[in-house]
Symmetry: C2
Amino acid sequence: MSEEKPSRSFVSAQQVAELAGVSRSAVSRTFTQGASVSDTMRRKVQQAAEELGYHVNHLARSLIQENSRIVCVIGAEINTPYQARMLEALVRGMQRIGRVAMVINSAGDRGSAEAALRQTLNYRAKATIVLSGAPPAALVRTCINSGQQVILINRDDHLDGPTNVVVDNDHAGREAFHMLQRAGCRKIAVVSSTAGTPSLVAREQAFEAAAREAGLGVRIVRPGPTSYASGFAAGEVLLSGSDRPDGAFCVTDLLACGFMDAARFEFGIDIPGELCVIGFDDIDQASWSSYALTTFRQPVEDMAGHITSLIGDPAADSAAGQRTCFHALPVWRRSVRPK
Amino acid sequence: MSEEKPSRSFVSAQQVAELAGVSRSAVSRTFTQGASVSDTMRRKVQQAAEELGYHVNHLARSLIQENSRIVCVIGAEINTPYQARMLEALVRGMQRIGRVAMVINSAGDRGSAEAALRQTLNYRAKATIVLSGAPPAALVRTCINSGQQVILINRDDHLDGPTNVVVDNDHAGREAFHMLQRAGCRKIAVVSSTAGTPSLVAREQAFEAAAREAGLGVRIVRPGPTSYASGFAAGEVLLSGSDRPDGAFCVTDLLACGFMDAARFEFGIDIPGELCVIGFDDIDQASWSSYALTTFRQPVEDMAGHITSLIGDPAADSAAGQRTCFHALPVWRRSVRPK
DNA sequence: TTGTATGCGTTATCAG
DNA sequence: CTGATAACGCATACAA
């Protein structure tokens, strides 16, 4: 163990150079990818650096290189199972390509998303990934004009400029209806939320359209935000009357879990005997035995991987404004009667 | 909407100054807290800045101010309910005091935690919060010597130097035993994991000690990492024999959920009729009706708030090496028979 | 291969 | 209150 002097401050390349008895540039070159230094020089520098506890200042480095290797991830409710999983995958991906993720919460008010986007500019982020929230179009444009790559996940507002990564909500929504129909459900409900997120709305509407085409009406409830509690509340509303639905599409697994619990524990309803339930996302809890929820899997790893390669690839400017759609595959479990 | 020229690069204070017809310093002062500028000047500058889409470069600012307003949060398995909740609370807290959180994954191997800590130094982070993982003591010291504030959550390895924020695992572990004992359980098991995290071990040992004092033996299983699947596996191991336990303490709610599901769906065991279960953390799922898990609540908001104030307070140097212990209160639900 | 000099975008200091 | 100038820590073009 080398004895580090408790300088109570960060060590600079200058100090390393002095200790090693070389020039500042030599130190710089030692830590710069692809610079030419002799082995003896490198060893001397590295030893001095180790001794002082020197670490390259990425902030100063970014100042020169104009792109900061920082990637901002903007999201509300990071603690939600789906978002947490996506965030985790993104953080890992960024790290894999030598970038680092800066997480910004945009929860709540409208101004919050704006402030988040400003932070992204303040830190000269190389890219901004929007997990949720509604960023003002004008500010998104500023980000792009500043040379940033802006990537929107499941926020298909049809803004041009940012790159969009979405899931095929339309297809899945329609498929969900047919799955319930084939299971013999006749009185069908949709459990949604007041969030009004584009992808949630798309699922709702696709499901409803398919039902209409089949000559069936659909009852839609939106008791609150996208949460377990809202799903539970939806169950209390939908299942208390005499004219109960026998099939439900919940636009999110979280809603589905709440809905199922209300059905079982408030009304003693058997799933899937008396009621079939379909969710969306395939969060961890969907596979837990208590739920065994039939749902649609968002290929989170694939999506994060795609985004990572988009950011890692230097020639990815061609992807600007591009839209990539991933397929959400149905995962059959036990909350829907077998056909 | 002002027409921004698509410069494809970030705007500098210099450009704003030229457009506004003032000096660079004037621009700087306009955006610096507590600098004195005339109203007319400020207005002129702000208008020019708006027009060009200027945003202060925090990287350059940090260069001169020596503390970067960046706080690194290091953790493995951010997508886990407990960690996700803590992360979310921390991110919100940092934002509240004008800091920004940089998330670094330290999953897996030993070198990973080291690399994470290096990142923290590279970005001249003002503070580092370790959510999980075992950072090498030498590197922690380098961080502290560099003027960083290092905060460890629930990693009570008794390292001196870093600030520790922990939960009273000993007390809770003992309490858990007495709760099971009072519920009339005689054959008691502990479900733990192979993670070997100090806080998990502390819970185990405290529980076991209390049992020993009461003259009872305890069966401990550690089927794998701290996850739902491990809890499920623990259930399969413990409940298959003829000599089943009638009470179990799971050192984590995630383990408890898996354990309960195995008990109910693999063996048809009634909880709490035939088997009482206690968890730890009070994650969201613990309150879901399917589980209604009696557990110990980690005061996540309070802990995050404490950490936030520690980082926000400029005179918090006195807290270096300090240890703050939070109390984990029991939350009674329905997985344990009422006394 | 090595050292010297310059500039990146800010803020702080000092004159005016 | 305002403008000029010197840092901050680093990478690089250029000269040796």
